[in-house]
């Protein structure tokens, strides 16, 4: 990931026009999500807060977006690591404030990145029921237990769009359930072997 250009550092210094530290904080956190600097309402809100033009606001939001994503990507966790990114000429107090804001938020942003990364549909809920089959067209009397399992899956697209949920319900005989538990037990053993290495 490329460092910011001189122009972008200049754009960041527009934050000096903010009315308060909280205003800076708000602009910084709002610029983090993907596409934030393209969102008209956020650009306008920032432009109004700083009394700058829309295009200047967009430059600032883009610059901060790149900076914050760089910090999360490289997992920069100490103030010294972040302070060293800024050029010598950058306003000292603003540099410290931005560093503080980045450190405050980077753990949350990192966890968000981990939970919203590319993946197969995620299991979000699980329900089961054990029924007793007492009759069928093949047998007038029977006592066969069976397990019904319902899994709720959520697919969250990374790029755009809203999450879609799907439900899958399945029936397991006693033998199938035993085999499945056997398989899950093997996974557990394999996982503990990997954890021990």
């Amino acid at each position: 990931m490329a460092f910011l250009t001189e122009e972008q550092f200049t754009a960041l210094q527009l934050l000096l026009k903010a009315p308060s530290k909280d205003a800076v904080r708000q602009i910084c956190t709002e610029s983090y999500p993907t596409g934030a600097f393209k969102c008209q309402s956020i650009v306008e809100k920032t432009a109004n807060a700083l009394s700058v033009s829309n295009s200047e606001a967009m430059q600032l939001l883009t610059a901060f977006h790149m900076l914050s994503h760089h910090v999360v990507y490289q997992n920069l966790t100490s103030p010294e690591q972040i302070l060293s990114i800024f050029p010598e000429s950058f306003h000292s107090n603003l540099k410290n404030l931005i560093t503080k804001i980045l450190l405050e938020n980077s753990v949350t942003w990192r966890n968000e990145a981990l939970s919203s990364q590319i993946s197969l549909p995620k299991l979000v809920d699980l329900e089961w029921r054990v029924d007793m089959k007492t009759a069928s067209d093949s047998l007038s009397r029977m006592a066969v237990p069976t397990c019904l399992l319902q899994m709720k899956l959520q697919d969250t697209p990374c790029i755009s769009g809203s999450p879609s949920e799907s439900t899958v319900t399945m029936e397991l005989s006693k033998e199938t359930l035993d085999t499945m538990i056997d398989g899950l037990g093997r996974i557990r053993d394999q996982l503990s072997t990997v954890a021990r290495k």
Binding site: H69, V72, Y73, Q74, N75, R110, A113, L114, Q117, I118, S119, L120, P121, K122, L123, L126, W128, V130, M132, K133, S136, D137, S138, L139, M142, A143, V144, P145, T146, C147, L149, M151, L153, V168, T169, M170, E171, L172, S173, K174, T176, L177, D178, T179, M180, I181, G183, L184, G185, I187, R188, Q190, L191, V194
Partner: protein, 90 residues
């Protein structure tokens, strides 16, 4: 006489022919470690992927999903509870 000898076999076959809805027929898995993403240069998250094969009428459907480790342990725990419940009846 022949019927008496074969009765257990016949009734087991009859049970086998009893209607099952969306029967789970196979399960495959793989697990690994995510080493990096477009957002995070270095990470070390374990993921578990399951493929469940379900019979729907004449064809089978594959259902793919991903579980975190806590979800996996919860899943195993729930299945063991279901098995304990089933064992009460046999």
């Amino acid at each position: 006489e022949n019927t008496i000898i074969h009765y257990p076999v016949l009734s087991r076959l009859a049970v086998g022919q009893t209607l099952m809805v969306n029967q789970l027929v196979d399960m495959e898995w793989k697990f690994g470690v995510t080493v990096g993403t477009s957002e995070l240069q270095k990470t070390g998250n374990i993921f578990l992927q399951l493929k469940l094969v379900i019979r729907k009428g004449n064809k089978t459907e594959n259902v793919y999903m991903e579980l975190t480790l806590p979800q996996f342990y919860n899943f195993l725990h729930e299945m063991e509870r279901a098995k304990a419940s089933m064992d009460c009846f046999s």
